[in-house]
Symmetry: C2
Subunit: 316 residues, 2 copies
Amino acid sequence: MSSLKVPASVPDPYEDAEQLKKAFKGWGTNEDLIIQILAHRNAAQRKLIRDSYAAAYGEDLLKDLDSELSSDFQRVVLLWTLCPAERDAYLVNEATKRLTASNWVIMETACTRSSDDLFKARQAYHARYKKSLEEDVAYHTSGDFRKLLVPLITAFRYEGDEVNMTLARKEANILHEKISDKAYNDEEIIRIISTRSKAQLSATLNHYNDHHGHEIIKDLEADDDDEYLKLLRAAIECLKTPEKYFEKVLRLAIKKLGTDEWDLTRVVATRAEVDMERIKEEYHRRNSVTLDRAIAADTSGDYEKMLLALIGHGDA
Amino acid sequence: MSSLKVPASVPDPYEDAEQLKKAFKGWGTNEDLIIQILAHRNAAQRKLIRDSYAAAYGEDLLKDLDSELSSDFQRVVLLWTLCPAERDAYLVNEATKRLTASNWVIMETACTRSSDDLFKARQAYHARYKKSLEEDVAYHTSGDFRKLLVPLITAFRYEGDEVNMTLARKEANILHEKISDKAYNDEEIIRIISTRSKAQLSATLNHYNDHHGHEIIKDLEADDDDEYLKLLRAAIECLKTPEKYFEKVLRLAIKKLGTDEWDLTRVVATRAEVDMERIKEEYHRRNSVTLDRAIAADTSGDYEKMLLALIGHGDA
């Protein structure tokens, strides 16, 4: 499901590090070389390149990329080069800062990562920020948003396939009752959404659909002002069908006047190695144009090249 | 700080397994031999004995202990023999069952384990119960108890020594304000108690003490009916001075008419390898009698022998 294209024979990480060092030297930066290397290495390989770079030059590859590159291209290369756990920690930290605050990024990270990956992000947060991820999320949110986001981000969901159908029926009825009463911030809704395994939740939502006449998502349609309700709905989408959620984020980012590079970069950098092929299928189905073409039409230069490389356009 | 006494030369785990198998054979069980072996092996060694036992006899040592032993002696041997993560998972699971429900055990486990150990208990819970620990805790609690216990049990606190004094002052004032208003279930109190590192919390509570005239614990003195307030107070004690909390649990368990073996067993089995020496000091200081003597006076037989061995009485 990864869209990443790694060459059949990958160079030694020291060689990659040396090439990158060369790309930074002289009159201008050689962006093509940076893309050719980094956009075609998996997380473990990128980690080795960073280690080799530090060992060979006593410098941090990320710092050099930060100083050599700029703008949207810089952001996509940096996010991509980070290992997934560090990247998630970085994104959540950014999402708790005033100027880049985003309940959506916190929710998306909490609901679309595997339990192990979410926990690794919490470990990486300790290492990098000398605090816990949840203390920053709890501190920088309030009211209903905190009530929803803290349990989502601290969850360590069971990942087996076992489903308790009696429980699914019972909890579908609880969800339906609370939603009918418009009690969207009810603690029982939050408990069910934030603690149950994805398999169990899927059974619950199927029962909801079968016995209450609508998909839960339809019953949660919000007017544009209700930010909490929109976030709750998106959390359910992320847990149930992440590829549909990400398709929608990409669609809105690309359609937006001027393109929302912030969202586009984040989704490509975080999903390329996970489920980008599924997201591309979904995008094509929904928009009658491939994601490659949509991105090519809306972006340009090195940023465009890097995005296209990450979503698997062209050869490694 | 562990009270465990391990012999200078520990037998091969296969030999220990063989001795245990012999202890089960014949007319009666040889309890002394069981104590002699298991009460003098650390967690890693007990794990090897279980593995060796399974390899040699195709049977689960825990199941054999369960069928050979009985009553309080059985419980202490079983809890002790489990590895710490499995034991914590077992205790929390038990604490969510109707007949053995205990908000206190959940709180105690959440607040006195290291962040890593608490997370390992969550992993062990997945493996053993095919569910997440927090989904059972959230499902089987409600109201203010759920509001406090779920964030406590899902926390992954930062464990460094760094302290932000400005934040400590600010949050001491928040705590004081909410407590003055008797808003004990306020979400800010719960956020601070459940997310901050123990070092940060300690600075906050010191500031509270210095600037508001009382220890926070004094301001939270509850009449006997307010179970939530007592639990909140105990959570703060567990986070701040676990040895004092455990001394009190032991004191009340031993003083109780007939002794509360449930609490006595749990505290000895969970703390022997962690901080039992500190708890013993605290106990002696507070009761003018050593814990050894208090236990010897209130218990008997193999149960007494096992408890005394675990708290370091006599030789390995």
